[in-house]
Amino acid sequence: MIEVQDLTKTFGERTAVDHISFAVNKGEILGFLGPNGAGKTTTMRMLTSFMPATSGTARVAGFDVFDNSLEVRRHIGYLPENPPVYPDMTVESYLDFVARIKGVPAEKRAQSVTDALEKTNITDKRDELIKRLSRGYKQRVGLAQALVHDPDVIILDEPTVGLDPKQIIEVRHLIKNLAGNHTIVLSTHILPEVSMTCDRVVIINKGKIAAVDTPQNLTSQLKGGQRIRVEVKASEQALREQLAQIPGASRVQTEPAPVNGHVLATIEASEGKDIRSAIAAKIVEKGWPLFELKGVNLSLEDIFLELTTDDAAHAQQAGKSE
């Protein structure tokens, strides 16, 4: 449904998007994950035909975003970071306007508007002036406008930002329900959102793609070996030295625990080794009180940080405990 090849965007000397390539299949939900300034919004602006690329191509529904700009726009519903609503209009007249300019034929317009209102659960606000709506409702109106013409592709730029937890869940449900019939690309920097709603994730940083995969694959791929966390009452230095000596331990990181005098240590094991008993034995041998020992899974958050943190800082931290 969407094919992006070598897409690049430079603003003068700054490269916002650097030769990225990816594809989105029909009916899929693709998440765009990245820190602020990574190039998510710029990429979306190019996909929606708002901004021309410096080089590379993007095709949506078979149409090139540059050569067939109008066609592309017919097939896309877009919700930018701030919902593009007119405060002085009522919800209904706004959606009617959007339906018109998106090319919904006159006979289908009223129904399309009603459907969009229902899907986003704002039917009771249809006669309300947009400026009187709360942020959450405005966001939903924004979502409704992206749906009103029943587009093949829906592009959402940070769709849950500013919503309360209940609304966030509703929006995620809505997005999940839309998949299949629609192809969805959403950007976010809220990590749980990605694992909950997306089929695949593109991690983007500084304009370049750092990883493309399903959330599960990413988690397991980078999990590597076992990770054990312990909470021990000991001196940080001594604990670190002892744990590092355990055969099979590939990396040890320590930090002071919230409780005074305690230390938290994370030990990474090389592939395939179960070092839990060895750790426990060592701690007991030294006579240190052991408060917690558990296996830790690499969360998407860790992967994200790992992939997007500066190499220099990362190496420094790794070197500290080696």
Partner: protein, 261 residues
């Protein structure tokens, strides 16, 4: 066409939702009416003195009251319009840019030209609604005059004020597309209007300078209209001006696509 209409409709509705339009129209009509009063009174005064002079000296007593009033009044309207139009046009694009709704328009399957034309026609409609009630004043005066002016002359006069206003609105909209700040757009348009006014004053200078200024002056071409004369060159002038402004506005919209977030 459908897109054009959608934009037109929305714009026009917007004008009438905010109190600004009503206030502007109200103030304009009050000021215009006030001046009309003065112009009419002064014309009647001149007519009387011409009458007296003629009985005393035997000179012809013809003082064309309706003609004088209509020319003066239409002239006044043009000055009022020169200063009111920045207020009407300043928000046309600036507000959309500020709200981010321009992104909605530009990611929808409508052309930039449709956006520009739709907005222009809506602002022109608002302008016409503001101007046309003054026709009642002139019309009534003419109706009660004997001999009265041919109605065609009034028609032509108003065609002229519409063209002049249209030009200024197109200019104001263009300037509005340069910024997100309505006030800046308004002040800039006002400044350009002043320059236009000065250029018009400059046409009274001697020789080629006067000619040059006269040729450029947005207002001078309007003079003919006030006299009931339709000069095709004036028609072309205004239409070209409007077209140029709209063309540049389309380019301005396009340039928005190339800017950083």
């Amino acid at each position: 066409m459908r897109n054009l209409y959608a934009i037109y409709r929305k714009e026009l509705a917007h004008y009438f939702v905010s109190p600004v339009a009503y206030i502007l129209i109200g103030v304009f009509l009050i000021v215009a009416g006030f001046f009309f009063n003065i112009i009419l009174a002064s014309a009647i005064q001149s007519a009387f003195s011409a009458q007296m002079q003629s009985t005393r000296f035997g000179a012809p007593a013809d003082f064309d009251v309706p003609g004088a009033v209509s020319r003066s009044f239409l002239g006044l309207l043009s000055t009022l319009v020169l200063f009111m139009s920045p207020l009407l046009a300043m928000g046309v694009y600036a507000e959309e840019r500020k709200r981010g709704t321009i992104e909605l328009l530009m990611t929808s399957p409508i052309t930039d030209a449709e956006i520009v034309l739709g907005k222009f026609l809506a602002s022109l409609t608002l302008y016409a609604i503001m101007i046309l009630p003054t026709a009642i004043l002139l019309g009534f005066m003419n109706f009660r005059s004997d001999p009265h002016l041919p109605w065609r002359m009034l028609l032509i006069g108003y065609a002229g004020i519409l063209l002049l206003g249209g030009s200024l609105l197109a200019l104001g909209s263009l300037i509005s597309s340069f910024t997100e700040n309505q006030l800046i757009a308004g002040v800039l348009t006002f400044a350009v209007s002043l320059v236009i006014w000065v250029i018009d004053a400059g046409r009274h200078a001697e020789g080629w300078k006067g000619d040059l200024f006269g040729y450029l002056s947005l207002v001078r071409h309007y003079d003919d209209f006030t006299r009931g004369v339709v000069d095709t060159s004036a028609l072309i002038y205004y239409c070209s001006f409007i077209f140029l402004c709209m063309f540049l506005t389309v380019r301005s919209l396009e340039s928005m696509r190339w800017r950083r977030a």
